[in-house]
Symmetry: C2
């Protein structure tokens, strides 16, 4: 498959020659994301610098029916930004400017290629932050977060990405540039196209500018609690969430993950189910919340309850959660890491974590479980030895069983990673006939199907 010469001439008219490339090394560099999905070479890589360039490229692609897969940091986990076959990979990396910070409005205006951690470094000078807190914040771009409706550690208290988007500038499939949304904090004006676009994984348009809602940086306090068994930890989660306290973060880490952390760090934490709390608010409000949570934990038999009294200790407690992936990559070199991302109603959290553990035993797999317990989000890693197709098949089988378990409980097949390539078969299982409605919307906004085709929907659906 090759791009027609007329298309390449057109591309040269849209963009300076340094903003597109057909070089194999570039095609290779843009052929994958952070998932275990197979690489797919694009036919060209394009780096846009403006909305107008994006519009020109999309108009051209639409005319020639050439698919376009947009990408930010390439840190998606389900193949969301792996180029569609025969596509142009359209990188937003160069559109990486924070255009305006509006502290009086708790807002900022930025380009989609801004990296999450960079944004928050700039916002911190104004006492503000963009809250969700994805684990991949050092590479994830805000545009990519919009595309996948990314969550993270702080989504429990502040909401996921979709709860922070006020306005989006979007280039549609036909190359037109439109603005969705308002800078007001709430609106009932027309269909909510901002919400439709958020989480649409590049299938409905390409975001070229974003106005975000921000929060004031709160005081913080971190606590860690460990429990002899999972039921006690899960009961703590439920009782804390019922108490009227809304923690900044409430994370579960299972015994297997703590075992990995201990080996990686040379620590000797009890290898039991662990909760990590972050409390946000005013100093005495936090102090009161810490005491309430300490009482709940002690009452339910915590074997350890520790408040981080220094920033260094806080970082150390958080390492028990944040270093899981690094620990496992180091301890299991060459292993394939299958990553899961379901969410279930809160009352089903403990039983689902137990179910995941049992699946690991059943399939003789190393499955470690952790996640955003406060909002019912369960992540898991299945570590599959290299060159063992039977184990890989088992790992995928276990993932599918766990995903279907979530569906059976009224849960979702993906809480914050999106559908991409990897979860397509489960979209219909979760949503049934609603998928036809999604496809009608896709057809209405992208009649030639040039935007990230092959993602989200299976052909046969």
């Amino acid at each position: 498959m090759n791009l027609p010469p007329e298309f390449l001439t057109g591309l040269g008219n849209c963009l300076p020659s340094n903003l597109f490339s057909l070089r194999p090394s570039e095609l290779e560099a843009y052929s994958r994301d952070e998932s275990s999905q197979p690489a797919q070479l694009p036919l060209a890589v394009v780096w846009v610098e403006t909305a107008e360039q994006t519009a020109a490229v999309l108009g051209l692609c639409n005319r020639f029916r050439v698919p376009v897969t947009a990408r930010g940091g390439g840190s998606s986990l389900e193949g969301n930004s792996v180029p569609s076959p025969g596509s142009v990979a359209l990188s937003l990396e160069r559109m990486n400017k924070v255009l305006e910070i509006l502290p009086q409005d708790f807002q900022c205006r930025l380009q989609p290629g801004v990296v999450y951690d960079n944004l928050n470094r700039q916002l911190a000078r104004h006492g503000l932050f963009f809250a969700p807190g994805p684990s991949s914040g050092d590479v994830a771009t805000i545009g990519g977060m919009v595309g996948n409706n990314a969550g993270g550690l702080n989504a429990l208290r502040y909401g996921v990405t979709r709860n922070h988007i006020l306005r989006l500038q979007v280039v549609l499939a036909d190359g037109s540039i439109v603005w969705f949304g308002t800078q007001a904090m709430k609106t009932s004006s027309g269909f909510d196209l901002v919400q439709l676009m958020t989480g649409s994984e590049g299938l409905l348009g390409i975001v070229t500018e974003i106005i975000l809602r921000l929060h004031g940086l709160p005081e913080r306090k971190t606590a860690l609690a460990q429990f002899a068994d999972l039921d006690a930890a899960a009961q703590v989660v439920y009782e804390v969430m019922s108490s009227g306290i809304l923690p900044g973060a409430l994370e579960l880490v299972d015994a297997a993950s703590i075992r990995h952390i201990n080996r990686y760090k040379g620590w000797d934490w009890p290898e039991v189910p662990t909760l990590i709390f972050e409390f946000h608010g005013t100093p005495s409000g936090i102090a009161e919340e810490v005491e309430i949570v300490r009482e709940i934990c002690v009452h339910l038999g915590a074997v350890r309850f520790e408040i981080a009294e220094t920033p260094a200790r806080r970082d150390q407690l958080w390492a028990g959660r944040k270093e899981i992936t690094n620990a496992e990559k180091s301890l299991y070199p060459g292993f394939i890491m299958l990553k899961g991302d379901i969410a279930v109603p809160l009352s089903q959290y403990a039983s689902t974590v137990r179910y995941a553990g049992a699946l690991g035993k059943k399939h003789s797999l190393a499955i470690s479980i952790f996640g955003h317990a406060g909002d019912g989000n369960i992540h898991w890693h299945t570590l599959v030895p290299p060159g063992d197709p039977a184990a890989l098949a088992n790992g995928e089988l276990a993932s599918a069983e766990l995903i279907r378990h979530a569906i059976s409980l009224g849960g979702t097949v993906t809480a914050e990673h999106g559908i991409g390539l990897a979860k397509r078969e489960f979209l219909v299982e979760e949503h049934g006939a609603a998928v036809d409605v999604m496809k009608k919307i896709k057809q209405a906004l992208d009649p030639n199907g040039i935007l990230n085709p092959g993602k989200m929907f299976l052909e046969k659906d």
Copy 2:
């Protein structure tokens, strides 16, 4: 215009004879909402009791191209539920059951005709509530709140209706029944059809079942602060919102509204700009917030700061906000009340309230202003004497000026009432070419245009 006999036969096959009516008194009763829009008689009134009946009626209407306007409590304020010309008025009032309360999941499942206050009475037994808090909570149905994405007093802390919807059962224009969404607290699975449906004012489908996200009932404390001038009150709003405190409610009431309340109630409150706060949380968290807010208010020259020490006094302070409409209806009998509902970025709040006051003077109109100051939402009432078309024209002119002022500041033409009939001309002014995208979605989901036609979009758009 009449319904064809074959259609009426079909209706008789869909529904028992007590569930539809062509009687003039019934048509008259369902011909208006709470707006100042002219009444429009429907051709028939239908009261559905199940999703299946709704599906049968929509299938029939779609076959005969008969428009359908769904309605709940009929308390919409922009003509949203005034029947489309030649339509069937489809009432969801009889679908008024709370089907399931799931305290462990902070969720409930209910039919769309449940009235807001009734729902919260049932939820209170479980220590839970559905937070937004519309002023019309004694008549507004949850289905209507979904249709208009209703807000209210507590939206500041908890979000508007759209932030509380997990799943919706929807009957589409072709009579098919689908479910959108998930019972998980967050999801990135496919296009967010729940968000698309919320606020779509009956143009994309009819909601027949709802799963809501709930909050635990917090401790509450109410405070009132009064200021010699508007700038001081507005500065307090900004400083409170910057302090990290998120009040349960933060309302502004202007001097004119307080004057009305004084006359209605026989009170002698200082007739100056007034803020009403509600603090939600744990007891000592609330105590700390009250002290911080008291300091801010005193520092900025409050002429009065009062904490309600009893429930009776709390209700009395709140009456200063909640009784405004009743006071004005009583003091200005027969007057037309034009109601406004813009929102602007927070930094523009004070200047916009001042602009509204100046408009009243310019047009010699009695304009009273109040609203959800914490999220930049400004409501106003323009009281137009009966039988004075010049004053009415002036009132409408003033509304249009204020709405366009909001647009010029990046705000929205409606924060929580929706577009309906009254705001249609402003939809394009606010959204520009994005309205074409909305219309493409409408066309994709309702190709025959039977769902609430003539609302939201002007024909010429």
